[in-house]
Symmetry: C2
Subunit: 176 residues, 2 copies
Amino acid sequence: MQRKLILYISTTLDGFIAKPNDDLSFLSIVEQEGEDYGYADFVASIDTVIMGRKTYDWVMTQVPVFPHADKTAFIITRTARPSIGNTHFYTGNLKELVQKLKAEPGKNIYCDGGAAIVNELLKDRLIDEFIISVIPILVGNGTKLFNNELPEQQLTLLSTKQFDKGLVQLHYKYGE
Amino acid sequence: MQRKLILYISTTLDGFIAKPNDDLSFLSIVEQEGEDYGYADFVASIDTVIMGRKTYDWVMTQVPVFPHADKTAFIITRTARPSIGNTHFYTGNLKELVQKLKAEPGKNIYCDGGAAIVNELLKDRLIDEFIISVIPILVGNGTKLFNNELPEQQLTLLSTKQFDKGLVQLHYKYGE
């Protein structure tokens, strides 16, 4: 079976993945001891990560060690940097990278944002599965998950999960 | 118990309630004989409807008789028209209308769109419950359900329902 590119991301009900200035404080609404919303299981199913450069740099301001250092990671950027272990800074064509990775053997591929990369992938209909966690809040401003002008794409619902803190996780695959 | 103002509406996964030119053709994805997604039960729980004038005029191009003619309806408009039975064209302040209606006895109040009215109500945090049906498609263009610049408002998830055709119905109430 071909490897799949999977988007696993949180959004507010009004479609924002962050408030202005990368403010993710609304995630505290759904924080619960011992509840990871399936993240560990999901991460165990992937071996490769695609992430935008801005998101990478932001993550690195938050943590001492890149959380995906044990995977193969491609940080999508216009400016070359030397690789750090298995973390590669990729300045080439994103579509070609994804097509190449999908053709290789391996576990699934995780798109870990940000919005620019997600929408670049959606523009080419390259995302195979969507695991979207809806946080029960309207925030009104920030970074949108889905840009306007995306090409139309029908999805198939695979599952819905509802959690105690009001998070709803929607799992779709691409196509009818 | 005070009457509640309830938004009952469909949206694509990327947050559009219609494609350009009021195109609702994506609703056909979830059409299924004998499945009304709880609409009849919901309508039985309300006795009053609030709707924008543009939405009203659009509805009247689609059907011979106004579907809410048996309820008390307020069509929000800048231009006065004579009432048609219990259908009133309301040119006053929307917030005052909603506060007045909520203070009166009766069943719940249905906000039946469009986006301009929904967002005007959200601006003043007047919507008490949200029943949002998510259609499994990205469309990229059209009329957004939630505008930018809304004031932040936390919601409480009441229930989630998943249907055969991939529609997910999210039911929230206002507040923590």
